[in-house]
């Protein structure tokens, strides 16, 4: 066995090291998930079952369909997202690999942002599959740029908070029930804003009436991303 005797490498800028660590964590999660498909399959199957059940439970006329679509979609994505968030953190905890991440000489918020990127990717992939299925079942056109923007902003807000709270909940013995209990009260603003804005786009409301909800989503995303950046280190600290 040999030790490395070459001259010490040049110190890279802090921002470059941070981004490298974010990329490493996101790559690791995506590579492991695309191989096992445990988390993604659970989220997708759950989402498809929920919209199928709603389809049979609500026998709606065309007008009513458009008004309930936003609510059905966001309820589906919120619950499916919880499954993914729980699994994403419990993998680290069960295998003890959270310690491996925390032992790295990087800012711990890099771990958080890496997790956010992977969780958001899974959620967006599930949404990309569910939307056409929903359109087919409910005969509603969901491929509208405004609605897609709301889905992106709402998903970011949901995942930003959810990843932080999942890191907190995973340390409790009742983590499976703890995450929804912690998460849903905090994401109420993002869910309300997302449902209102999505509904506005689907029913063809005046853009001026949608704009405040859109602004709320942007502000929520910025505020909670900043809070998570500041507190993640304390959340994972023993």
């Amino acid at each position: 066995m040999t030790a490395r005797t070459s001259s010490p490498p040049k110190r890279e800028p802090a921002a470059a090291g941070f981004l490298r660590a974010v990329g490493a964590v996101a790559w690791k999660d995506l590579a492991a998930e695309f191989r096992s498909r445990e988390l993604f399959t659970a989220m997708l199957v759950f989402s498809l079952l929920v919209i199928l059940i709603f389809n049979f439970a609500l026998e709606l006329d065309i007008k009513t369909r458009e008004s309930v679509t936003a609510g059905v979609l966001w309820v589906t994505f919120a619950f499916a997202g919880t499954l993914g968030l729980n699994r994403s953190m419990s993998i680290e905890k069960d295998q003890g690999s959270m310690d491996g991440l925390l032992l790295a000489p990087v800012d711990r918020s890099a771990i958080y942002f890496g997790k956010v990127i992977s969780n958001l990717t899974f959620m967006l992939i599930v949404e990309a599959i569910v939307l056409p299925v929903y359109s087919f079942l409910y005969n509603v056109n969901l491929l509208r740029p405004g609605l897609l923007l709301i889905l992106l902003l709402g998903s970011i807000g949901y995942i930003v908070v959810g990843t932080l709270l999942a890191a907190m909940a995973v340390q409790s013995r009742t983590r499976d029930v703890m995450l929804p209990i912690l998460l849903f009260p905090v994401v109420i603003p993002v869910l309300i804003a997302a449902v209102k804005a999505s509904s506005g786009f689907l029913t063809g409301d005046d853009p001026a009436s949608i704009l405040p909800w859109l602004n709320l989503l942007v502000v929520y995303d910025v505020i909670f991303t900043s809070i998570a950046f500041m507190v993640f280190d304390y959340v994972v600290e023993e």
């Binding site: 040999t2 030790a3 090291g17 790559w27 690791k28 590579a31 492991a32 998930e33 032992l103």
Partner: protein
Amino acid sequence: MHSLHRMPTVSEAPMIQVTKLVKRFGTKTVLNGLDLEVRKGEFVALLGPNGAGKTTFLRVLASLSHPSLGEVRVAGHPLPQQAAAVRARLGVVSHMPLLYGDLTAEENLRFYGRLYGIPRLAERIDEVLGMIGLDSRRRDLVRTFSRGMQQRLAIGRAVLHDPDVMLFDEPHTGLDQDASAMLDTVLRSVAALGRTVLMTSHDLVRAEALASRFDVLSRGVIVASATPRQLRSSNLLAFYKRSLAD
């Protein structure tokens, strides 16, 4: 390059310096004024019964847990103030392998290598996989590995960034005799490069074969310390039992 056969040299410089360390969890005091000094190049076996505080102590040294009171310095850096600097010079192997079963051996090392910002990573991964004898299994998923192979890969992960200080928390847990013997070979090669090693263990036979000093931890404090030379006529088991009885 260092040779495999190079003998470790012990220098006077302390790589681990702990003074009056107290660690409390609520009202429970796990470490109760612990003092310890480990010099560069030493291989110290930390022995003690279950609940003595060995794992808690290693977690404090690894910056995974904050000390309640006292002073802790690793590689000259105080904890918790310079935790990132400590982590850059530290390799940790616990009884959990800290690996991802759905990644291959090579992917696991590549992930940790990126996290640590290791230059010429591919070359370093080749070197480490050769050292731990897993080169032929580099493209296999870690979940298909035996416990012994996972533990060797865990050591590979821990030495990837060439740390100065290594912490081993009961690395032989769950290994059969052959796997333990192979792990010992890897541990010796890790120590032979002059690294400072602190290993907790319940296995006195293995500790005796590997370490250059034995410290006994009981009720949160070091109650006895001896080198193989000081033990002389006594064996480690007798020393251990006597230390706990005092």
